[in-house]
Amino acid sequence: MSDPGATLKPGAWLTGRSTYKRPLSYAGISSSDPRVARAIDFVSYEAELLDRKEYVVWQELYAEDGVYVIPIDPETDNFDSQLNMVYDHDKLRRARVVRLSEGYAISAVDAALTVRTLGRFIAAEVSDTEITLRAAQIVVAYKRGTHHIWAGDVEYKIRFGATTADDRIVLKVIRLVDSQGVTPASGFLL
């Protein structure tokens, strides 16, 4: 299958600027596979907890070595070497939950109400112990008469436990369509 944008033709504008170039791995496993279905149920639960701002419950869905990140550069996996919007390991995630919950942060006290939709699930890699899942996420945030859309691709790595209650998020990356542009400041999490 030849790619007409692979080489720059005389007078052609540089292609590929309107999307990112991350490789799209695909396990070829159906969403009805029990492991995939289990992961979809799990991230849907995570999404609902976030919409309800049940952060104290939410943080326990993460493994101790789990990472939550909203990068600015949508191409990168090397979050250490770049500036991110959020790059939380366990300690910072727990501090953030305190901040969002305790009532001192005026942006969190008056945070937008959110409803998010997850869809377009793709199982990238699946094993009996771990799954990498990709999804589209649309968060509509409503505050003082204004709706803002936070649209992005989400990548989850989930470690399966002995039961579904033991499943843990090892990595969640939210790549916003406007991560390099301008967003509002936020009093909630994506």
């Binding site: 070497s81 942060a105 204004t146 400041a185 009093g187």
Partner: protein, 432 residues
Amino acid sequence: MTVEFTEENIYDLTPDELVLTDRVAGRMYTDPDIFDEEMTKIFERTWIWVAHLSELPKAGAFKTTYVGQQPVIVSRDRKGNIHTMLNRCRHRGATVCETPSGVVNGFTCPYHAWSYGLDGSLRGIPYPDGYEGIMDKSTMGLKKLRTEQYNGMIFATFDHDIEPLEDFLGDAKMWIDRFMAQGAGYPVKVLGTHRFKFKGNWKIQLENTTDGYHFPIVHRSWMATVDEETADMMSFMTDPTAITHVLGNGHSVMQMVPQHTDLEADDGSEPLQPRFDGLVADLRAQGVDEERIRKLVYTVHGTGFNLNLFPNVSLSISFFRTLRPVSVNETIIEHIAIGPDGPPEIVDRVNQERMRAHENFQGPFGFGTPDDAEGWDRVQRGAVGGPELPVMVNRGLARETKSPEGWTTSHVTDESGMRAAYYQWKEMMGNE
């Protein structure tokens, strides 16, 4: 003569009459006509910060940004000269570049392919026979702004007749030099940028960078998460040595951590914070000598002050903060992370630490920024009520003194820096 703001006169007063010694009228935040006038009389008539030199590291490097509401390109040509020009084709007005930054040979308009060099000169027109005898190509380059720089800070202006940049900066120059000392012996470079918007007038942000008073209130939740040393460092509310100087031309500097005002004066007596133990160990493992480690780690949290440069940039402790007025009630802010620009094996680890600290407070999801933005939104929403009611900037007016340098000086929580910015605003808005 002092004018009283009343319901009857508030819309009859000229903009410069809306600034009094100790207060400004709320109408300044909400009147679209004043906003339009500000774009002309301030943003097109003074030096506007557009880039840091590290953002244009080689020939062909460019960034797109704005001067006021006007889109511009800042570029570096093959001779190393920096140019700022309108991002607007001279043919039919299209933008010639919609990429935030990059490296190019020139700029070609996508509409009819008029092409421009890195200095904005018009190089090529397709099918040029239609212009024979009616247009001189040499006069049809991109509109140029005057561009000057000081210590890596690049500014541009539409006004080709105003004072040189260095005169405009005046006493702020030595503070820029002090700020750049956080390069720890290396130049400073941009590491990344957070961008966010708030629904409020640009002057609300202008005030905030010289507002020590809000810090323990608005940033209480951030203070609760930091270690004791950092909390101590930021406990300037009752520290009499934490002071603000007014530097002229609307510029001011607030020193929140006076012991870190002059990073080069470090005598080694202040212990490095334990939270940097890992960083120190990593630098040692890289074979970096102890003196340099001390310098790099001592400067990792930046300087102890915010230097507020009128009207659109602040050198704020460890980063640059810029504001871009979008409309009377919308402003875009950039928080630009910086760090030393040295050999990667030395500075990369340091800059990781700096980026993590920046993420912690700044940006749309930081532990600090969203709370600031909430405060600013609330000011705009409230200020719509009572356009004649004053916004008070009188804190500390009775305790201002003169420093040996002749700078009006007060406590860091006082509003001297705001008064200085508004005085400059008043001067410029009063000009014809």
